[in-house]
């Protein structure tokens, strides 16, 4: 019997090694897998490369992981915010490497990894600092920049409901990066509010099919 549901957050993240590349879901705090972040902080893996739209908000989730000095490099589109103080401090102290990527290019690089695309041309950032040193090409009178996929060892995402085959649904705009990150990592770990029996998620409403998910861990109270 396939059972991707793991009994605890600790068990879900136990094998994450130092130096791993980790996709972390969420846009700001919506969809941020904060309970998995806490488990990763307790687990202690260091020298991580993390991919998220932001670089942590306030003191929880990714911000707490940065404060715990477990992150070596961040790939993101929008690090500087009014409440990104942990990132700002570590960045200014030279403890963190930043790779800044336009938001749509970030999403497409993740999607490309999940879809087996070798690289792609996008018009975004052509003629700007963020395209410096990159290969460009003119296609049908438009200029494009070559971008490469972002593959990862792990994806830590937050979904709403999940079953033992790993099928997932999300809630409102907390969906954001979850589905594409799930497809782009070797091991996707989803924290869910609720676990349900097979068939309880309408197949027409499955957002992330279980093939993309390795582990599901429930954070809400037992049903």
């Amino acid at each position: 019997m396939i059972n991707k549901i793991v009994p605890s957050l600790e068990a879900a993240v136990a094998d994450i090694r130092d130096g791993s590349t980790i996709l972390i879901g969420g846009f700001g705090t919506a969809g941020m897998p904060s309970e998995l972040m806490d488990a990763l902080i307790a687990q202690g893996a260091k020298g991580l490369t993390v991919v998220n739209n932001n670089a942590g908000n306030a003191d929880a989730g990714l911000a707490a992981l940065i404060a715990a000095k477990q992150v070596r490099k961040i790939i993101c589109s929008f690090p500087r915010q009014s409440d990104s103080w942990h990132f700002d401090k570590a960045y200014r102290a030279g403890e963190l490497e930043l790779e800044l990527v336009p938001q749509g290019t970030l999403a497409e690089r993740i999607r490309a990894a999940g879809a087996g695309i070798g690289a792609f041309f996008t018009p975004t950032a052509y003629g700007t600092l963020l395209a410096e040193g990159k290969e460009t090409r003119r296609i049908n009178d438009r200029d494009y920049v070559l971008e490469h996929p972002i593959h990862a060892d792990y994806a830590l995402i937050k979904a709403d409901r999940g079953d033992r085959w790993g099928n997932l649904t999300y809630r409102m705009t907390a969906r954001n990066f979850g589905p594409i990150m799930a497809s782009a990592a070797k091991c996707t770990i989803a924290q869910v509010r609720e676990t349900v029996e097979l068939g309880q998620i309408d197949p027409e409403a499955v957002v992330t099919p279980g093939i993309f998910v390795k582990r599901v861990v429930r954070t809400g109270a037992a049903a």
Binding site: F78, R80, Q103, T128, L130, R175, F177
Partner: protein, 212 residues
Amino acid sequence: MKKMDRNQMAARVARDIPEGAYVNLGIGLPTLVANHIPPGREVLLHSENGVLGIGPKPAPGKEDADLINAGKEPVTLLPGGSYFHHADSFAMIRGQHLDFCVLGAFQVSVSGDIANWHTGAPDAIPAVGGAMDLAMGARNVLVMMEHLTKSGESKLVERCTYPLTGARCVSRVYTDLAVIDIRPDGLHVVDMVEGLDLAELQRLTGVPLKRQ
């Protein structure tokens, strides 16, 4: 001459957004445009984080932390609205499905270049978000900004001195003094605030203007 305030600027932009348009409003000043779409005119507002059909601000106490816009402010969803993941959201932007985006800017050049993401200061932490995608992807890129910097310099310039967000992409600029179209043959003044004439606007702006 009386400069337009932020809400008057937003109302002026809203006048130009037609029924049925798909629109992305940038963070900050452009967000105000939503408050000035006339009742009964169906305009679909998109936000980068994965929502189409944004409704009014939630009533106090009715906010949901899972329902936010790109500025991370709580929003509501209209009946008929939808949620989608980030790659789909940016396919809408980069695939040229949005009719309009409205962006703020530090500078816009006579050739339609926009600079709005980075001051280039050595100690600044840069952040870009979806600005470069919107600048390249939306069918019409509208800019909303004050006409002059705090020290009185024109934000419409011959060539941007700040790092570019996108090249040759802005079609119209709404300032607190005027509405100006950017065309291959130069800048055309569409309208001006009351009490301002072309000579005075030209003096303040520095780059050549034509009266439409």
